[in-house]
Amino acid sequence: MLRRLHLELGFAACVFLVGLVGLRGTADLDTGWTSDGPQAGFFPLRVSLILMAASALVALNAWRARVALSRVVVVEGEGGARVLRFGLPILGMVLVAQWLGLYVAMALYLLGAIRFAGGRRWTVALGVAIGVTAVTFVVFERWFSVPLLKGPLEVMLGLG
């Protein structure tokens, strides 16, 4: 169970951090306004500062309304669990894709997500996984000559 107050504060902190990183990035740029007009770092510096200020104000507002906001539940236990069950496999797919390639990762993800998270029968899961992957391969690699990320398997099969 996640309350609005915590989420507001947490997200504002993330945005503040992004602003801080941006500020760090402008350190080696010229941030002035010379006779050539604004220099490369002029806008990045100001955008970073605005981000930090605005996120601080959002957090301040949230804190001032903390009593009301801590009563609001934004993510319920059951819904949150569903989000995690759906989201974590996506992360897994991206991770697997980095070294086995997008096609293998895709097929594994579809198989897992439809069979286990979705509770469908093996035949359905297998059919969708193989079908979607094959169609993607034909459309992207064959028709449009757009190469997708490939891993050792495709190279072994002579497809990559």
Binding site: L7, A54, L102, Y109, V124, F144
Partner: protein
């Protein structure tokens, strides 16, 4: 003008052959396919077909390529409405009301509105090209850096100023968009900005990857949280919805007219279709009687961006042919094609290659009519996809999103980015941060900055250049007024609400 009509008739005699009609149908169908898939866009389709066109005559070649472009513009709206995933950058604004309509079980209706208004917008754009070709070309020449900047500012102001949302959170969203848009190489100084010496960041963060994450993946997470099945989205094929939408189209003639005007304006000036659709949506929300219902599934919120998008897409073909200005990635590829076919874009094209130019313009009329018909024919097909259980279609959409994110730059790193923006999109929706300002800031932020700094180079750092001639002065003044308007009303309104705030804390929630 009359001579233009003559020329157009001649063009029809060139374009109206069975061979060319067949090419149009093929081009439109292929375009719908690439438009629907978020990873593929019209530029992919055009580059795919380019080698095929080397052996064609230039008229057939350009008919094939432009038809594909129209098809892609139509197809891009489909996934925006059904799944909240913009198939093309210019259909982001279509998600704002199109997707809510689909959630209410009015998908067929929303798609019909989108396609028909898009078709009308396109036709208006072509009529303008036909009648005013020479005037438009010389008008486009008057746009230097200060004018470019003023156009971007105007588009920006008309969207932001008339939007709702908490001011602070809108500012956060905008600043994030500007910041992400600045990453990569800076055109004016040539230095790398905010790349932290990470090679993956040299190309900056692609707007498409961000949109796929924020809208596509973020929306999936929200959907799954509500329940294991799509709620409300009715998968039934609903011909009555389509007929109802068709019948009520005439009621929205103001929106169509306004959208077309914005679109033609942004197509001729360098604004482009994406900025046009945002600007049109913003203006419609402000000026329409139904403005308050925008964002909750209001048909006018679908019609406004769609008309503008297509009007801009078609009218941008004119500066491309007569001046060689590529208004979009797609027309840049087409320009390359022109060179390969042995044609040089420029004013002489209209004089020396009458068959080519007017054959193409005539084919634009036909191609868009064919586009509307074929796109409408696909409505039942796509609506049927909604009836597939979410436990199957959900994961499939995820893979489509990630494949799309990868193809933008062919970079594995972008997969991580898409997932990160998916989480961010989910959280921002939860906390009522508006997403549209972020997207708009990314689309026009860096272009506007370039134009601004080029102007400052020209004027040695003086802002006076933004009022240095009547054209740029008018644009800048209108933009400034648009920007000041909500500021003034916010200041007045803030004093009223701050009194109220002391009594009750701001009520969060949708």
């Amino acid at each position: 003008m009359l001579s233009n009509l003559d020329a157009l008739m001649h063009g029809f005699s060139v374009a109206l052959t069975a061979h060319h009609l067949l090419l149009m149908v093929a081009g439109v169908l292929l375009g719908i396919l690439v438009g629907v898939l978020p990873g593929l866009g019209a530029p992919n389709g055009v580059t795919l077909l380019l080698p095929l066109t080397f052996s064609m005559d230039p008229v057939s070649a350009i008919i094939l390529l432009t038809s594909l472009y129209w098809g892609a513009l139509f197809g891009g709206s489909t996934t925006s409405i059904l799944f909240n995933i913009p198939g093309e950058p210019s259909s982001v604004a279509t998600t704002f009301d199109g997707y809510p309509m689909a959630r209410q079980g009015r998908a067929s209706e929303a798609l019909t509105y989108a396609f028909v208004s898009a078709g009308i917008g396109a036709l208006v754009g072509i009529v303008v090209i036909t009648l005013l070709s020479s005037a438009v070309a010389s008008f486009a020449l008057r746009f230097g850096p200060p004018e470019y900047f003023a156009v971007y500012l105007l588009a920006f102001a008309s969207f932001i100023a008339f939007g709702g949302g908490a001011p602070l959170k809108t500012i956060v969203s905008l600043a994030l968009g500007f910041g992400f848009g600045m990453m990569g190489m800076d055109t004016v100084s040539g230095s790398m900005r905010l790349t932290f010496d990470i090679p993956e960041l040299i190309r900056g963060i692609s707007f498409l990857v961000v949109v796929i994450g924020l809208f596509g993946l973020g929306e999936l997470l929200l959907t799954i949280e509500e329940g294991p099945e799509f709620k409300g989205a009715s998968g039934r094929l609903d011909p009555r919805g389509m007929l109802r939408a068709l019948a009520s189209m005439p009621r929205y003639w103001v929106a169509v007219l306004r959208g077309s005007a914005v679109g033609v304006w942004m197509g001729i000036t360098p604004g482009g279709p994406t900025a046009a659709s945002f600007m049109s949506y913003g203006l419609a929300r402000r000026t329409s009687r139904n403005g308050v219902r925008f964002g909750q599934g209001e048909p006018e919120g679908v019609i406004a961006p769609e008309t503008a998008d297509h009007a801009a897409g078609t009218s941008a073909m004119l500066p491309m042919l007569s001046l060689g200005i590529p208004g979009s990635a797609t027309s840049a590829v087409m320009l390359g094609g022109l060179m390969i076919w042995g044609l040089n874009p420029g004013p002489m094209l209209f004089i020396e290659q009458r068959d080519f130019v007017w054959g193409m313009i005539a084919s634009m009329y036909l191609g868009n009519v064919i586009g509307v018909i074929l796109a409408l024919a696909t409505v039942p097909l796509f609506a049927a996809m909604l009836s597939v259980s979410f436990s199957i279609i959900g994961p499939v959409i995820v893979t489509v999103c990630l494949v799309g994110a990868y193809t933008v730059a062919g970079a594995p790193f972008d997969l991580w980015l898409a997932v990160a923006f998916g989480v961010a999109g989910y959280l921002m929706k939860k906390l009522d941060y508006p997403l549209a300002p972020l997207v708009l800031a990314m689309v026009i932020g860096d272009k506007a900055e370039d134009a601004f700094r080029q102007s400052m180079l020209m004027s040695s750092g003086s802002l006076g250049v933004l009022w240095s001639n009547p054209l740029v002065g008018t644009l800048s003044t209108i933009a400034a007024l648009f920007l000041l308007w909500p500021l003034a009303s916010a200041l007045l309104g803030w004093r009223r609400t701050s009194k109220a705030m002391r009594l009750a804390p701001p009520e969060p929630g949708a």
